[in-house]
């Protein structure tokens, strides 16, 4: 092993502190979520128990966490699928020149940088003036897409920037129709990136607050519910929820990593001559 320069150790410490900074508060609430039944939202700990986790699975005094969770999950999947399909399609479109492409591109950028509350406000106003009913699955869904679709589109730009066009030519050469080319060649090749887009679409939606605030209608999504809880709940049950959501996220990421790892292992099965001069 080569000797490391001194800057390495300085930077490594900095990195360590950064990680501590990132995780410290989350760990704090993770610890606090194990408060005893009499515990409050802050230190000192008042006993240690699983009380608040149990409590989480019972009905709360106000609100409906699990209902909100179900809605957010459903909305997350809706947004995820729409984002994947929409951004792949748009990504394909943007590879060609078409009238209005640069307008659309700048709109997408605007959509990404516009303060979320403006979307919320505007969509709320429009629905209101048109006499439509705001609902998480209509106005909320559309509002979230204004954030996830441009995000997905940017990822698709990155993907297609690196996509070798000769794959498509090869497919066409082999007699594939345009649709077959997309179905059997383009999509499978970009599939790993699509998983990324899906993950983004899902979590951005799952965690979206500002754009859903005025567009969710009668029923809360999970972030709105959590937000409500921060003002309505005075017990560590909210920390238990935080700990669980964090674990949920970790689980999702772990699942994806494991999948990639398994795929890699399976592929290694047949050995490799890559890089050999054969």
């Amino acid at each position: 092993m080569e000797k490391r320069p001194r800057s390495f150790y300085v930077l490594a410490s900095f990195f360590g502190l950064f990680i501590l900074f990132l995780y410290g508060p989350t760990l704090t609430i993770a610890i606090l979520s194990f408060q005893g039944p009499k515990g409050g939202l802050t230190f000192p700990m008042n006993g240690v128990s699983l009380h608040w986790f149990r409590d989480l699975f019972e009905q709360q005094a106000v609100g409906d966490i699990w209902g909100a969770f179900r809605r957010s999950l459903l909305l997350g999947f809706m947004v995820m699928i729409t984002t994947v399909v929409g951004s792949v399609m748009a990504g394909l479109a943007f590879r060609k020149r078409f009238a209005g492409s640069s307008v659309l591109f700048y709109l997408a950028i605007t959509s990404l940088v516009i303060p979320s509350i403006l979307i919320s406000l505007g969509v709320g106003l429009i629905f209101n003036q048109l006499g439509f009913r705001v609902h998480w699955a209509t106005s909320g869904f559309g509002s979230q897409l204004t954030w996830t679709l441009p995000f997905g589109l940017l990822i698709m730009f990155a993907v297609f920037n690196r996509f070798d066009k000769s794959y498509e030519e090869a497919a066409r050469d082999q007699g594939a129709s345009s649709w077959q080319t997309i179905r059997f060649v383009v999509v499978p090749i970009i599939a790993p990136s699509l998983i990324g887009v899906a993950l983004f679409g899902f979590t951005l939606s799952y965690d979206e607050f500002a754009r859903t605030l005025l567009t969710a209608g009668s029923y809360n999504t999970l972030p709105l519910e959590i937000f409500g809880m921060t003002t309505n709940v005075t017990t560590p049950v909210i920390y238990a929820l935080g700990t669980l959501t964090t674990l949920f996220s970790l689980g999702v990421i772990g699942f994806f990593l494991l999948t990639f790892w398994l795929i890699g292992k399976r592929r290694a099965r047949f050995g490799s001559d890559a890089g050999k001069g054969l």
Partner: protein, 390 residues
């Protein structure tokens, strides 16, 4: 359609949008009540702008003043309300007892009635058509941490006492906050309001000037928007004196932290809440809604709310759902004869303790003003915004 298939969507603040109530409704009446709890501003907003998103609005009277003119709510026929007669006078004539004086601000009765089923403007007296059916109300005052203050507190002006610099708080809901401010300013002797519930621009300016200065001097630790936030602030020791709601005190105490709901010489700032029906409600749903209202006033909810420290609009019926010890402690201001517990079972007081502020009549009898929406409300709101941003 069967009654059990009916779902009524109710929203309101966390104060009374309780799942226990929905569960009990399912049990007693058979239909489903879907509850959404929001903060006061969101409640106003939803009531005013999203009429389709609810069937039942559980709102405060001052909110009603803003929402009624939108036409999103329908007036209720008092003849269909079984316990109408037993509703306390505050909500009908404005007087607790015939000799009471009507306090300043948006008193519930002043926005409680309209001329007829399609009435647009509020009526001055009982008409048989109510805007909101009263459900819950209370008299608010300052909450303090006696263990951290260690001296008697008797006046609203203490809120701005530099002694509590960085340890005071008020709420960030303009229509309520402005009344607290007025109580403080009056108590300080800085301003003499003609009508706290209907300030002039000069009075508004002056009030904010005083509070803005205090804010800039670091008097406040934080502002809160829902009562639970106030609980957290108090319980965590971030704040030792603040305008507070009764169950918030209860919640702090239930954690073993001393907290007093401090009666003050100038009197209380009061508020009242009620249930309103969406304009679009009709047919079986409307019937179910009336059924729900009647059930609401029938005492079970009243008892439940009283056990949290609120008052029921029909105290008599609540009495049937409370023990003598509870009734004595909560309503009559008597010493507890045994443990007093919250609806969730936490012990709030032990034998021998009495409720801060005394009996129902002591408390509701010394209301100085109601939460209000004043004529200069828009001006006040802008000033409020400036105050928060200052």
């Amino acid at each position: 359609q069967e009654i059990k298939d009916i779902t009524l969507r109710q929203f309101g603040t966390g104060v009374s949008n309780l799942n226990d109530v929905a569960n009990k409704v399912k049990e007693d009446l058979g239909f489903t009540l879907a509850m959404t709890a929001l903060d006061s501003d969101s409640v106003t907003q939803r009531a005013a702008t999203q009429p389709d998103s609810f069937d039942i609005a559980d709102i405060e009277y001052w909110i009603c003043k803003k929402v009624w003119p939108t036409g999103n709510l329908q007036a209720m026929d008092t003849s269909k309300i079984a316990n109408y007669d037993k509703i306390v006078g505050i909500f009908k004539s404005g007087k607790l007892t015939p000799e009471s004086e009507i306090a300043q601000g948006t008193a519930p009765h002043s926005v409680g009635f309209v001329d007829g089923p399609d009435g647009n403007s509020f009526a001055d007296e009982e008409t048989g058509w109510m805007t909101l059916i009263p459900t819950i109300y209370n008299a608010d005052t300052l909450g303090i941490r006696p263990d951290l203050i260690n001296r008697p507190i008797n006046n609203w002006s203490e809120l701005l006492n530099p002694e509590f610099k960085g340890k005071a708080s008020i709420l960030d809901i303009s229509s309520i906050g402005i009344m607290d401010m007025a109580m403080v300013c009056e108590s300080m002797g800085e301003i003499q309001y003609a009508d706290k519930g209907n300030m002039t621009r000069e009075e508004i300016d002056k009030t904010f000037a005083i509070f803005t200065e205090a804010k800039q001097n670091g008097q406040f630790r934080a502002f809160w928007k829902s009562f639970d936030e106030s609980v957290n602030l108090m319980a965590a020791g971030e704040v030792v004196i603040q305008s507070m709601w009764s169950p918030a005190i209860t919640a702090v105490k239930s954690r073993g932290i001393p907290c007093v709901y401090q009666p003050l010489e100038e009197g209380y700032r009061s508020w009242g809440g009620g249930i309103g029906l969406s304009k679009s409600l009709s047919g079986m749903e409307l019937d179910a809604a009336y059924e729900y209202i009647n059930w609401y006033l029938d005492g079970w909810v009243g008892g439940y709310l009283m056990r949290q420290g609120y008052y029921s609009a029909v105290p008599e019926t609540s009495k049937n759902h409370m023990s003598e010890n509870e009734w004595g402690y909560w309503f009559e201001g008597k010493q507890a004869t045994g443990d007093i517990t919250s609806p969730t079972g936490d012990v709030l007081a032990k034998a021998g303790e009495t409720r801060d502020g005394g009996s129902f009549y002591d408390r509701m009898g010394s209301v100085a003003c109601w939460n209000a929406v004043m004529d200069e409300n828009q001006y006040m709101v802008r000033k409020w915004n400036e105050f928060i941003a200052s």
